[in-house]
């Protein structure tokens, strides 16, 4: 390799940086049999959830990694076949457990397409507000745990602190911080309370000062830059062939965003940019997500400014519950309420696939209806499941520490991977 540092013949003539570069990343040849296969996880501080990685190491360099999943497989898709359509929503929300509104949104979009149901405009804009708030919350948690993995421990406290503010907003509108069951087929379950708009605007203002603080902590930190720049590069064609979407794809420069390409739920009314990277390394993925947070704040502000008046759920009583004050006066409302609660609405037979843009990529929902009140098959095309296939490509010939950074920047959510 190179000279021994501090040897008698050449004491310090080799400069310090040269000595650091003594180990190359090249494979050491076939006769070198120092390949060590170790098992990272499923219980491990750095895997985001219960992910098991069979890593083949040569020294400190990762040669191959095989993800083994299934440790939190809950059979959600099979359970959904036994429930009425509106009861499926809590099940489906718990798949990708950081972006719960997105799961419910994909399912509701698929069922609304099967029912050929129009969602009123106010409901669409409310949905957009909650989706973008959830995107901000999800990215905050990602930056909190991702930076924790790489070593910037302060980000855990800051990210969780600001995420608590967003969860307060969800609690205001939906009653619960997590898994609020706020989206229903045909709209949202209830209108936003007074004071929500004010608190959201305060949140936006706070975040607009906090995100530059995060950047000043991380973005100008030499250690962070050295760990994320140049690591985990995958060319765009490989990512496209692997079906990867979301911030991972946008970091390589491909501006594919379903909110712009096939707008749904009123996204065409908002003016926002889609941040793309250039190289596709971990630094680009980090910057793309932080910029996405800022763009989401812009969308929320525009939605609050232009929130239209109107019903917050479809007036079709065969699909949505009537408001409670009608139950005392109208017989039909009572009958509709009874039928919906006991049996549920029936969906004519058919199948459809609806896709939205979740914080991790394309989240699609396939629903097969057979005419009864329960779906015959619900399948979620989860972005983390497909993005995980890019991990071996990303991690090849990297040091183990960079491999952990790759996993952190990949942002897998094992609930979605295993379903």
């Amino acid at each position: 390799m190179t000279e021994q540092p501090g040897s008698m013949t050449e004491p310090l003539s080799v400069p310090y940086r040269e000595r650091e570069r003594s180990v190359t990343m090249e494979p050491m040849g076939e006769e070198h049999d120092e390949l060590l296969t170790i098992n990272i996880g499923p219980h491990h501080p750095a895997t985001h959830g219960v992910l098991r990685l069979l890593t083949t190491l040569e020294g400190e360099i990762v040669r191959d990694v095989k993800p083994i999943i299934g440790y939190v497989h809950t059979g959600i898709e099979k359970s959904c076949e036994d429930q009425q359509y509106w009861k499926v929503i809590p099940f489906v929300e718990r798949m990708d457990y950081l972006s719960y509104y997105f799961n419910a949104m994909a399912f509701c979009m698929a069922v609304e397409r099967l029912l050929d149901e129009e969602v009123p405009e106010r409901a669409q804009w409310l949905r957009v507000i909650h989706l973008e708030l959830n995107r901000v919350a999800s990215h905050l948690f990602w930056i909190a745990t991702g930076a924790l993995d790489i070593g910037a421990i302060t980000m855990l406290w800051w990210g969780c602190r600001d995420r608590d503010l967003a969860l307060d907003l969800f609690e205001m509108s939906g009653g619960q911080r997590f898994h609020t069951r706020y989206f229903q087929v045909g709209g949202v379950v209830e209108d936003i309370p007074p004071g929500f708009e004010e608190m959201t605007r305060a949140f936006i203002k706070t975040m607009r000062t906090r995100i530059p603080q995060y950047l000043s902590l991380l973005d100008r930190n030499e250690i962070w830059l050295q760990r994320t720049k140049g690591t985990g590069i995958v060319p765009m064609e490989d990512l496209l062939a692997l079906g990867v979407t979301g911030p991972l794809l946008r970091a390589t420069g491909h501006p594919w965003d379903l909110r712009k390409a096939t707008p749904y739920s009123g996204y065409e009314n908002f003016d926002f940019k889609v941040p793309v990277g250039t190289v596709g390394d971990n630094y680009d993925r980090f910057r793309v997500r932080v910029e996405e947070m800022l763009e989401s704040l812009k969308i929320i502000e525009q939605a609050l400014d232009g929130l239209p008046e109107g019903p917050y759920i479809t007036p079709n009583r065969k699909v949505a519950l009537p408001p409670r004050h009608e139950l005392a006066t109208s017989m039909e409302a009572l009958i509709h309420h009874f039928k919906l609660v006991t049996e549920g609405f029936r969906v004519p037979p058919g199948e459809t696939y609806a896709a939205i843009e979740s914080p991790r990529g394309e989240l699609g929902c396939y629903v097969l209806a057979d005419g009864s009140a329960k779906p015959a098959r619900v399948h979620m095309r989860d972005p983390s499941f497909v993005n995980l296939q890019a991990l071996p490509v990303m991690a090849r010939d990297h040091l183990l520490a960079d491999f952990i950074a790759c996993v952190a920047m990949l942002d897998p959510i094992l609930g979605g991977v295993d379903r």
């Binding site: 496209l240 062939a241 098959r377």
Partner: protein
């Protein structure tokens, strides 16, 4: 989403280029276009749609399985294709029965199908010929049965109410 006439044109082109018996039907429902394909020619159809068409469908977004019980053939495999240039989606569907559940794999055309075909195998029992690593992915390796088939029992425990509480065996007895 191509409309109904566009779907018919695609079906016709596929019939010309791949074979007459490849396409078994088309379905257009609520702006969702489905191309029904015979199981043995799935790979050729998807290869043609990726390379041969003037307006190709070059991305595979999702491979998922469905159990159409009680219709026969029972198991269906859906391929969701996407064209990023035209922002257009097409669904290719094939049906196999439980007696001969073999479908050619499209992993070499679209590497994204790797994990997803393993999941269809795990949950439904459809074997993909040509897949490099056909193993269970979500269930334990030695699990028996294909859970998401409709005749597989839901599992779990019976819910205890007051009327059946004395009759159910409790684990501490």
């Amino acid at each position: 989403m191509p409309d109904a006439t566009g779907l018919e044109l695609i079906a016709q082109r596929v019939r010309e280029k791949v074979g007459d018996e490849a396409v078994t039907g088309t379905l257009y429902y609520r702006r969702h276009a489905t191309l029904d394909v015979a199981p043995s020619s799935v790979r050729d159809v998807i290869a043609y749609l990726r390379d041969g068409e003037d307006e190709p469908w070059e991305r595979l977004m999702s491979v998922h399985g469905v159990d159409y019980l009680p219709e026969e053939p029972r198991l269906g495999v859906h391929y969701e294709l996407l064209s990023m240039e035209r922002a257009d989606r097409l669904n290719v569907r094939t049906r196999v029965g439980t007696d001969e559940p073999r479908v050619p794999s499209v992993v070499d055309l679209h590497p994204t199908a790797d994990f997803q075909e393993r999941e269809v195998f795990d949950m439904f029992g459809v074997v993909f010929d040509g897949h490099p690593d056909m193993r269970r992915i979500l269930m334990p390796e030695d699990y028996e049965g294909y859970p998401q088939r409709r005749d597989f029992p839901m599992g779990g425990e019976p819910v205890i109410y007051t009327f059946n509480e004395p009759k159910l065996p409790r684990w501490y007895d």
